[in-house]
């Protein structure tokens, strides 16, 4: 799992500096709830998650919601004590791990506590990730009744061999059924795919995308497989058991996916995310508001072990293992282990890095004069859209999306 960043020590009371108050009224507040449990750890996974065996004493899936609820309460108190105005939550997102390892009733309880502590915006987006294999129609109904509006299924691939390489245990045939249940319960639906798995052919990938489109979700994410150090797959690659990642193959698959999705009525709005008009909502309305909150540098509080938070230019991250995390929240202390306060230059760097990823683009006004000299060459090289540039925005072309980091490196000075 990625190690946590280096940063300053986080204060035990979690209080934020006065600098976070500037412009707070104009920033939406979101909540992320991390559920650090899985039945098995997938070979590629470097997220902060644990199987039952990996947890210590005093930590259990059964009691986890209580600790999460404690941190929700702590969050509300810290934000208020730091002088921030009360802001109802714009979005809530349950991720993992596998949030649906918890009983649906536990998820709705946490949400209920969040609603009590913060309130919810009208039309707030409330999402949970779900395993298409283990979630039931009844679970989905409980979630919908409890206030959830959206579910994101970890489909990854329609090809059993590819799923096996990824250590995913679900039966791909269960995905359409789960998608249908979610729709029946009135939830909007996203599916996640992974491309570039070793051994996955271009035809395999085409099959996965086509299959996912056939379920008619209103949102789809496609992430290239990233193999981080410390994962099982990384060591398999080092030993030559599994073929290494081929960026050219990933580029080809990205282009194929974008083409297939466009033909099925999906439009991209972030490098790895597409949405379409469905279930009475426009494509824009079907974008993930929670993801956009990240890309637009809004405020969010991350609940749970290893979760990251951002409020007004202060970022912090929680203790990674559930044990020390649990100890901190039960003692009424901040479970954060490090934080950083961004200076103006760093905030601008992040803004360039994040906003170039989205279809709405980055305002050229954010760039300094030196970076602006890069605009014309970037247009000439076909990496950013010329028409948008004339309109004052940096918007990546299809080629540019694949070379997004290279573009960012040229725009930050």
């Amino acid at each position: 799992m990625p190690s946590l960043p280096d940063g300053d020590p986080a204060p035990a009371d979690g209080l934020l500096p006065p600098s976070v108050l500037a412009g707070a009224e104009d920033r939406a507040l979101s909540l992320y709830v991390h559920v650090p449990f899985c039945s098995v750890r997938c070979g590629y996974c470097d997220f902060n998650t644990y199987t039952a065996l990996e947890l210590g004493p005093d930590v259990s899936q059964e009691a986890y919601h209580l600790d999460a609820e404690r941190e929700v309460g702590f969050a509300a108190r810290v934000l208020a004590s730091s002088g921030l105005p009360r802001r109802p939550l714009h979005t809530v997102f349950f991720g993992g791990g596998t949030p649906t390892r918890l009983p649906a009733a536990h998820l709705t309880r946490i949400l209920a506590v969040a609603r009590e502590e913060f309130g919810l915006d009208d039309g707030a987006e409330i999402t949970t990730e779900a395993n298409p294999d283990s979630v039931t129609a009844q679970d989905l109904q409980v979630l919908a009744d409890g206030g959830f509006t959206r579910v994101s299924f970890g489909m990854q691939s329609a090809v059993p061999q590819v799923l096996k390489t990824l250590d995913r245990t679900h039966d791909p045939r269960n995905v359409p059924r789960a998608v249908q249940w979610a729709k029946d319960a009135g939830l909007s639906v996203s599916v996640d795919l992974i491309y570039g798995t070793p051994g996955e052919s271009l035809a395999d990938w085409e099959r996965s995308v086509t299959e996912a489109i056939s379920y008619a979700p209103d949102h789809l994410s496609a992430y290239s497989l990233i193999v981080e150090e410390g994962t099982k797959m990384h060591s398999q690659m080092r030993r030559g058991v599994v073929a290494p990642i081929d960026p050219d193959d990933q580029a080809e698959k990205y282009e194929l996916a974008d083409d297939l999705l466009a033909r099925a009525g999906f439009t991209w709005y972030e490098i790895s995310n597409w949405s379409r008009a469905a279930q009475g909502r426009t494509a824009t309305e079907n974008r993930s508001a929670h993801n956009l909150a990240y890309w637009h540098n809004q405020d969010w509080w991350g609940i749970g072990p290893g979760a990251h938070s951002h409020v007004g230019g202060v970022r912090w991250w929680n203790r990674k293992h559930p044990m020390p995390y649990t100890t901190a929240v039960r003692a009424g202390e901040s479970p954060a282990v490090g934080r950083e306060t961004l200076d103006d230059d760093t905030r601008r760097f992040e803004r360039i890095m994040l906003e170039t990823r989205i279809a709405d683009g980055l305002s050229i006004g954010v760039l300094d004069s030196q970076a602006r000299q890069q605009i014309a060459p970037l247009v000439a090289e076909g990496l950013i859209d010329g028409r948008e540039a004339l309109g004052g925005h940096v918007v990546l072309t299809l080629t540019g999306r694949l070379l997004g980091d290279a573009v960012v490196r040229r725009l930050v000075t």
């Binding site: 940063g7 997220f47 990240y294 760093t346 760097f349 694949l402 070379l403």
Partner: protein, 616 residues
């Protein structure tokens, strides 16, 4: 057993008959410094408490590498049968790069200990220095060291040494620098067998400089051996090669720290301080005499140091250029053999073309620049000096491939060396194969003993400076040893191979090679660069060419994907830091046309595969 001296002879008033001047000839790790330490202890010059391991090797690098670059001279009192003698031990460099320094050290002595590891036998460099010692008519005392080692074979190697110098193997001394065994007997033997120095006590003074060292506090410290007459404090002296005059601010002996004396008489060895700040004003091999009524004839043997190997040194950070120049100037104060001039490379920026005595000299210089002056450097592949005659009969000397003339060439002459390889006889075949592949011509072959062979070859120096020694070592499991000395030049069929990125020549990668090897060099470098240069947003062709003729090509495909598709649960900090790091990395890139080449690619492409541990 001999006691330590009771009344040590006083410098400047010691009768030459009580002096013994000797040096130690040994291979690098055969234990010379340890034995020298033991002699300092046995003679009471150093108390055990003062004992620093390898007392004579002052510089860190020397201590780490276990080799002695700079020689020094220590005066040690020793009593034999009631007479107090003064023994001057003159330390000699053990490496082939410093043959000239060795020859001057030998010229300051009447005797030499031939020190050989009892577990390894004699090595080629030792043999070379032994020849030099015999040419100087030195008395040779054969000594086997490390007899305490379990792997020692004193019988076998005593036989080998005996055969070599025509001496009864029973007369080969056996010592252990580690335990001290045999050291006192060795000191007695020096007194008995090394002849005392002979000179004209009342003639005009003549002293030979055998070493010259820059000291931050004292300026240049010059080590001399007085041949005739005497030198006195405060007297004005003259350096005979240049005529430069200086005042003798201090004169004395080392024992083991400098001790001023009332002068130095015939046969004595010691140091001079004149206040000069640059060792080039006090050159090894030069003759010191009195400024008035001095000698008219120099002692023979002085030579200007001649650089043999050339390499460009460039700071990785271009703003370090002035610091590099200052550092080279400082090193030159202590290293008369180091020469350099400014050089500009389109790929590497501003740097210096430096000339060295050999590869070790190059490596040590580079290491000192990096370590003592905290500079990060790129050094270009070592090159030699070629004499190029064009068709219009103009001649140029080329030490840098980028200066290779473009016009029609009539003849190119390259420097040659005569090389001696000593190895166990089982490796004869593989050594001959290697020498042939390096364009060597065999001069002869002799068996030193039943299973040890000496092979003599004439080889182009350029082949030696590339990777000859590494290959020799690896093909003989480390058993072969090599010595070489300059041996004229010869005409050869040489060409310059250029490397091009997107059609732009990268001067730092150009090389002068034999025509038959140009192709393999081109293929090797193009392949290396393909692996070392990261993919760009466009395709980058790599070509190797002789003139306009392309001899090898590779292609770096355009990069298609360079974007992180996901942030980890909002871990923006991590992604930002990654980008910041990449951005920082870009700043360290050198631009070749539109191609970004990382510094590491230059470093890796210009270093041979196992440069870490070579030339030891």
């Amino acid at each position: 057993m001999s006691p330590q001296a009771v009344v040590p002879p006083v410098p400047s008033r010691t009768d030459p008959s009580l002096l013994r001047n000797f040096c130690i000839i040994a291979h690098i790790d055969h234990g010379k410094s340890t034995l020298a330490d033991r002699m300092l202890q046995a003679t009471g010059v150093v108390t055990p408490r003062q004992m620093k391991a390898q007392y004579l090797d002052r510089m860190d690098i020397e201590r780490e590498r276990g080799i002695t670059i700079k020689s020094q001279a220590v005066r040690m009192p020793w009593q034999v049968e009631g007479t107090d003698f003064a023994l001057n031990m003159i330390d000699t460099p053990g490496h082939v790069d410093f043959t000239y320094e060795v020859s001057r050290s030998l010229a300051a002595c009447e005797g030499a200990l031939l020190l050989v590891d009892a577990a390894q036998g004699i090595e080629a460099q030792t043999l070379a220095n032994l020849y030099l010692a015999l040419e100087n008519d030195l008395a040779i005392i054969p000594v086997l060291n490390k007899i305490d080692l379990p792997a020692a074979q004193p019988e076998k190697y005593a036989e080998e040494l005996g055969n070599l110098i025509g001496e009864d193997p029973d007369r080969v001394l056996r010592v252990s620098g580690k335990t001290g065994e045999g050291v006192e007997a060795l000191l007695d033997r020096i007194v008995a067998e090394v002849p005392p120095p002979v000179g004209q006590a009342d003639g005009p003074s003549r002293a030979m400089i055998f070493d010259s060292v820059f000291d931050t506090y004292r300026g240049v410290v010059t080590y001399v051996r007085v041949v005739d007459g005497a030198l006195k404090p405060r007297e004005r002296i003259q350096m005979m090669s240049t005529g430069a005059e200086h005042e003798l601010l201090e004169i004395g002996v080392i024992s083991p720290e400098p001790k001023p004396s009332q002068g130095l008489g015939v046969g004595e060895v010691g140091y001079l301080i004149t206040g000069v700040k640059d060792v080039r004003q006090s050159r090894v091999g030069d003759t010191v005499t009195a400024a008035s009524k001095g000698a008219t004839e120099e002692l023979g043997g002085y030579e200007d140091p001649k650089p043999m190997v050339f390499s460009g040194l460039f700071p990785i950070d271009g703003s370090d250029y002035p610091a590099l120049r200052d550092a080279l100037e400082k090193l030159q104060l202590n290293d008369a053999a180091l020469v350099w001039e400014p050089e500009t490379s389109s790929a590497l920026g501003f740097g210096f073309r430096c000339g060295f005595l050999g590869l070790l000299h190059l490596e040590i210089t580079r290491e000192r620049l990096e370590r003592e002056f905290d500079l990060a450097l790129i050094s270009t592949a070592p090159s030699v000096s070629y004499d190029v005659t064009l068709e219009d009969n103009t001649e140029t000397v080329v030490t840098n491939p980028s200066e290779f003339p473009e016009g029609r060439i009539k003849e190119i002459r390259e420097p040659m060396v005569s090389a001696t390889v000593l190895a166990p006889s089982e490796f004869v075949g593989t050594i001959m194969e290697l020498c042939q592949s390096k364009r060597g011509q065999m001069g002869g072959m002799d068996y030193l003993s039943e299973d040890r062979v000496e092979l003599r070859y004439r080889l182009p120096l350029a082949e030696i400076v590339l990777d000859f020694f590494d290959q020799l070592k690896s093909r003989t499991k480390g058993y072969a040893s090599l010595d070489w000395k300059a041996d004229g030049d010869q005409a050869a069929d040489l060409v310059k191979v250029d490397l091009l990125l997107q059609g732009e020549r990268v001067d730092a990668f150009s090389a002068i090679t034999h025509k038959d090897k140009a192709y393999s060099y081109g293929v090797m470098m193009a392949g290396k660069l393909k692996d070392l240069i990261p993919r760009q947003q466009f395709e980058v062709p790599i070509q190797a060419a002789i003139g306009s003729r392309i001899i090898a090509r590779e292609n770096i495909r355009a990069m298609r994907k360079d974007v992180l598709s996901k942030c980890y649960g909002g871990d923006i900090s991590r992604k930002r830091k990654l980008l910041e790091k990449q951005k920082e990395g870009k700043k360290r890139m050198k631009m070749v046309g539109r191609v970004e080449v990382p510094q590491e690619a230059f470093v890796a492409a210009l270093s041979s595969d196992d440069s870490a541990d070579k030339k030891k």
